[in-house]
Amino acid sequence: MSENDFKALRSLLRMKRNEQPPPGYFRTFTREVMTRVKSLEQDKARVDGLSWVSRWLGASWLKSESGIKLGWDGLVRMSAVTVAGLAVATLCFSFFWTPQVASPMGTLVELGSSEAPVAASIPPSLPRRQNSLLSIADPANQTSELRLRSLDLPSTNLFPDGLFRIPDQRSVRVGFGINGDR
C-alpha cells in the first residue's frame, strides 16, 4: 500500500490544520509565557540576592519544584545555624549584662563595683546586729583576732540539732584569720 492509497485520508487530516484557537489567542499567548518567565527570573534573583548563609540553607530547600522540603541535609544545616546563633546570642548577652543585687534599702547595687561596697552602702544610723554577716563584712571588724563563729541565724535544717551527730565524733572548729593569722 503506497502513500496514494491514503490520499483521501491525508486530505481529511490536512483539514485539521484549520482547527485554530479562538481569535486573538496568539497575541495573549506570548504575553502569558513571558509573564511566567519573568516571574521565574524574579524568584531566581531573590534567591541570588540572599546572603551566603541563606543560600547555603536555601540550597537544600529550593531544589524541589514541588515546594519546600527540608531533608536531612537541611536539618543538619538548620541545627548548625541554630547552635551558632545561640552561641552568638549568649556572647552578646554576657557582654552587655552585669549581675545586679538589691541592697537592703531597695536600691540596686552592682556586684564588684569598687565605688559602692556592700558594707558602705548601709547607712551608719542603722543598728548592726552583732555577729551578723554585715558586721563581719564591716572593715572596722576585720582584725587579726576575728574568728568565724557560729552565727545567730535561724537554722534552715528541718531536724533538731544533734539528731544526725555521730556519737564520739569530735567536731573541730576551724578558724580563719586575715593576714595569715590563725
Binding site: S11, L12, N18, F26, E41
Partner: protein, 209 residues
Amino acid sequence: MEAPVDSVALVHSLSKTEEAEESRRLVRQAQAGDLKAYDALVGKHQEQIYGLCYHMSSNHDDANDLAQDSFVKAWQALRGFKADSSFYTWIYRIAVNTCLNHLKSRRNRSVHISLNDLDIQAENDPALVELVSYRTPHRDARLAELQRRLNDAFLKLSEEHRLVVTLHDIQGMPHDQIASLLKINVGTVRSRLFYARQQLQVFLGDFVD
C-alpha cells in the same frame, strides 16, 4: 558550459540561511538573559508548538497549558542548550515530551473534545467542501459530524501513532526530521505512519472510501 542558476531556489536558500542565523542570534541573546530575544523566539514558534499540543490532546485548554509549560521549561533549560541541533527541533522535543507525560497522567481520565474549535476557514477548505457537499445537503451538520468523527478516530490511536500522524500529515514535517526529533529510525517513522493511517481509515470508513 556553466549550469544556469535557479534564482528562486537561491533566494529561498538564502532566506533560510538568514532565518537560521537570526534564530541562532536570538538563542545566544536569550541564553545571556535577554527576555526580548526569548519573546521573539516564542512568537516565532508558538503556532507550531500549540498545534502539536492541540492535536495530541484534542483540547484547547490542555493545549494552552502544555504549550506554555513547554516554553517555560525551554527557558529554564536554555543555558544548557548546545547548538548541535536547531532551536526549532529542540523546542519541539520539549513539547513532545511534555505532551506525552501529560497524556500518560491523563490516560485514565475521560477526554472532552470541543466541537467549537473548528475554525470558520475550514468551511472554505476545498477538500472539505468536496468531501461533505456532494454527500448530503445538510452541509453544516456533516461538517460537525466529520469533525467529531475525525477527533474520535484520532484519539483512538496510541500516543506514538498519533504523534507521527500529527507531525507528518497535519504539520507537514518530513520523515527524517521526525526521526531526528523522536530519536528513532526513518523506517520506524514510516511503519508507524502506515499503521496509524490504516487504523484511521477503518475508523473513518464512511468518509474516506
